[in-house]
Structures are given as C-alpha cells and as structure tokens.
C-alpha cells in the first residue's frame, strides 16, 4: 500500500472516531479526531464540515466560519458548509451575507433532495432571520413615520392658524376645510404604513396542501401549482395523481413554477411579516 493510501485510510478511521465522539456529545474529542484527519488529508471537505459542526455546538462561531470557508474552497456544492457559514455570519450580524449563504444552501439542498430535513431546517433558519430583519426594519420605519406625521400635523395646524388670522368670516367653512386636510394627512400616513401591517397572504401564493406560502413551487400538467416537497410526500403516501384534479401524475412531469416563485419573492420582500412561522 502506498503512503498516500495509508494516510487516507487512517484519516477515514479518525473521521469515524470523531463521528462516534460527536454522537456521544463529546465535542472536544471529536474536534481532536477531525483535526488529525485534516492534518493527514487536508483536501477532504467532510472533515472540515464535521469539525465545523462541533464548533457550532460549542458556539465557537469564528472557527465555524473558518472551517466552512475552507470546505467551500474544496467543494462549492457543500450544503452543510454554506448552511453553517450562513449561521456563523448571522451570528456576526453580517446579515446580507448570511442570508445569501443560507439561500445558496437551500438551493443546493433542494437540488440534492427536496424533502430532506436539512432543507426544512435551513428554511426555518432563513425565515427566522428574515422575520427578525423585518421586525427590526419595520419598527424603525414605523417610528420614523410616527415622528414625521407629528411634525406634519403640527406644521399644518400652524399654517391653518396663520391663514385664519389673515382672513375674516366664513368660520364654519374654514374649520371644515381644515379638518378635511388633517384627515387627508392621516390617510396618507396610514397608507404608507400599510405594507408593514400583517394581514392575509393571498391564496394564489399559497399551496393548496400546506396552506402556506410557496417555497419551492412546482406546476403539474393540469396547471395546478403545489409545494414540491409536500407533493412528493403525497406521491409516496397517497398515490400518483394530481391532488386537485385527480388526474394521473408522475413525479417526472413536475416543472418548477418560476413565475410564482418570483411573485412570492416580491411579496416577501415587501411584506417581511409573512416569514413568520406558526
């Protein structure tokens, strides 16, 4: 056996040792094992992502970031590396970067297996991050609007007062006009605040099975759009038919519905509250 093959075999054994330690929550021992494996074979991305997972458990986020970046260098398609890098960046409050990594992980994860628990977990983290961002931003927006509204009202009243002292008579009409103006101002500000008020998500952006906003919409030959993961579960557990039209349907006939996906994205960008998970 060549020395390189020997090293590879040894490293694999160390990985198994690490996995065993990890499963017993002995993260220090697991990190040691993976570190040795990396020293022997630094080009295997799994050794890096496994070690990153241990660091994640210990909340050592800088190290998570380092290991994940290394793993991504070795394998651009590593779902776990992009996912944990995203989490690490969110921890550092590098919001936009973190979200981008999570979205990347989500796309890669869906390509590999749209029904996997990883995909669901990544979505939850992504939705939570987006919701928190919305909460933060909308509070700021609402506060700014409130302040601006107060200022505008005061200025308008001041102007109305000045106007009325110049003119004489027609008191009733002037008062009515003034009240109308104030009411109109109120409406303008209400309109401006509308997008940030949680309401109903339109039905056409929701799957008929999950009743929730689409994440990965696919369209069937009948023209109905469903959430991909849940439709695959339906094939497995119920039968190979379109749940609404009951026409025969084979998984290979599903086509991503990109238009709905775009519409969902546009809606969520405008109404971040819809990221809230029950």
């Amino acid at each position: 056996m060549s020395p390189a093959m020997e090293a590879a075999e040894q490293a694999e054994q160390l990985k198994l040792d690490g996995n065993m330690a990890f499963s017993k929550s002995r993260f220090g021992a697991a990190i040691d094992a993976y570190t040795e494996a990396i020293a022997l074979c630094p080009n295997v991305p799994i050794y890096w992502t496994n070690r990153a997972l241990c660091y994640r458990k210990r909340n050592e986020w800088t190290k998570v970031e380092e290991d994940c970046r290394k793993a991504i260098q070795l394998d651009h398609h590593s779902v776990k590396a992009h996912y944990m890098l995203g989490l690490a960046l969110l921890q550092k409050e590098e919001f936009a970067e973190g979200v981008r990594e999570l979205e990347k992980a989500l796309d890669l994860g869906r390509d590999a297996n749209p029904k996997s628990y990883m995909v669901e977990e990544i979505w939850q983290e992504l939705a939570r991050a987006k919701y928190l961002e919305w909460e933060h931003e909308s509070t700021k927006r609402s506060w700014e609007l409130q302040k601006l509204k107060g200022t505008c009202e005061a200025a308008l009243k001041e102007k109305q007062f000045l106007d009325s002292s110049e003119k004489e008579g027609f008191v009733d009409e002037t008062m009515k006009a003034n009240a109308d103006q104030l009411e109109a101002l109120d409406r303008v500000f209400q309109k401006a605040a509308e997008d940030d008020i949680p309401t109903e998500i339109p039905d056409y952006l929701c799957c008929k099975i999950t009743l929730d906003i689409f994440r990965d919409p696919v369209i069937t030959p009948s023209g109905v759009t469903y959430e991909r993961a849940v439709l695959l579960e339906h094939f497995q557990k119920v039968g190979k038919f379109d749940p609404i039209t009951r026409e025969y349907l084979h998984p290979s006939q599903l086509v991503p519905n990109l238009a709905i996906k775009e519409a969902v994205r546009a809606f969520l960008d405008k109404h971040g509250w819809a990221y809230k998970i029950d």
């Binding site: 008929k208 099975i209 999950t210 009743l211 929730d212 849940v230 579960e233 339906h234 557990k237 119920v238 038919f241 749940p243 609404i244 009951r246 998970i277 029950d278």
Partner: protein
Amino acid sequence: MDLSRVHKELRECNKDVEVSGIHIALKSDSLTHLVGTIPGPLGTPYEGGTFKIDIILTDGYPFEPPKMKFVTKVWHPNISSQSGAICLDILKDQWSPALTLKTALLSIQALLSAPEPGDPQDAVVAQQYLKEYPTFVSTARYWTEAFAKESSLGVAEKVQRLVEMGFPEDLVRSALEAAGGDENLALEKLCTA
C-alpha cells in the same frame, strides 16, 4: 401531522361560519381531536337541525383522511343509526390532501341532501328509504327534532325529567350530550356513573 396547516384550517373555516354555518372546535387541548358542526340542509328532513361530528386527526394527516363520525344521532341510509359511522368515499379511498376538514364537512352536508341508498352504511334505513320513502322522511324528521335541536322542547323536557329524578343539572346535560340526546342512554350513563 402538519400542525400549522390544521391551525390555518380552523382559522379559515371559523372565519366564515356566518356564511357556511360550518364550525370546527377543539375537543381537547391537542389538535388531534375536534368537533365539527354542520346545519341540516334546507328542504331535507334534516332542516333546522344542528349536527355534531366527531373528528380525529391521525399523525398522517393530511396524507390520511380525518376520521369522522356523527355524534348527533341521525336517520340516513349512509350513516349508521347506531354508531354514527359515515359511508363517504372521500373519507376513505378517495381522500386527497387537497381536501380540508371544511370541504369534508361540506361533503357530509351534501350527503345529507343526497343519500345514496345503493351504497348503504345502515341497511335498515336504506331499505326503508327505498321501500317506504314517506316513513323514512317522517322518521328522519322526527330524529332531527328529537336529537339535533338543542332549543327544541325535547332537550329541555329531558333535562327536566332527569333532574327531577335527582341528578344534578350539569351532569344531566353532559350525559345527554354524550348520549347524542338519547334520554334512556343518558339515564343509563347517569346511573352507572
């Protein structure tokens, strides 16, 4: 089970109870045991009645149909007059996850309007429906009066009679409800309790 979906279903269904008359309530703290309410369809012997349906959701929901049966006693060829079991294809092999609790209850309401005696659940009722239709109609109407109307004289009188026998009123009411309005069954329950 998809809890988030069940939450949404309840919210959606109960939002337009004014229009549909269909209501779903929790039976306990968990979302697995529910009670649906449907009004008897107009122009049928069930008109004016309010029918309660016991709903059990399994872990597989919405990929498995909800288990539904009548709590209120009802005289109908496709519903057991004894157990309340319902013979309806969408609650069995014709279920689809695109259906909801509300659409299932609407289908049951439609079944009340349009019995299918060719595929009976209760053979006695089905025979009567086919051979003595007028008797069927009057029996079904009588059962609606007796069991599906809370405000009807029936219940008030039954409660009063049982209370006069010396049982506390709240126990009487819950026993009557559990017995689907059947006074004798309620008395049995009260005596053995």
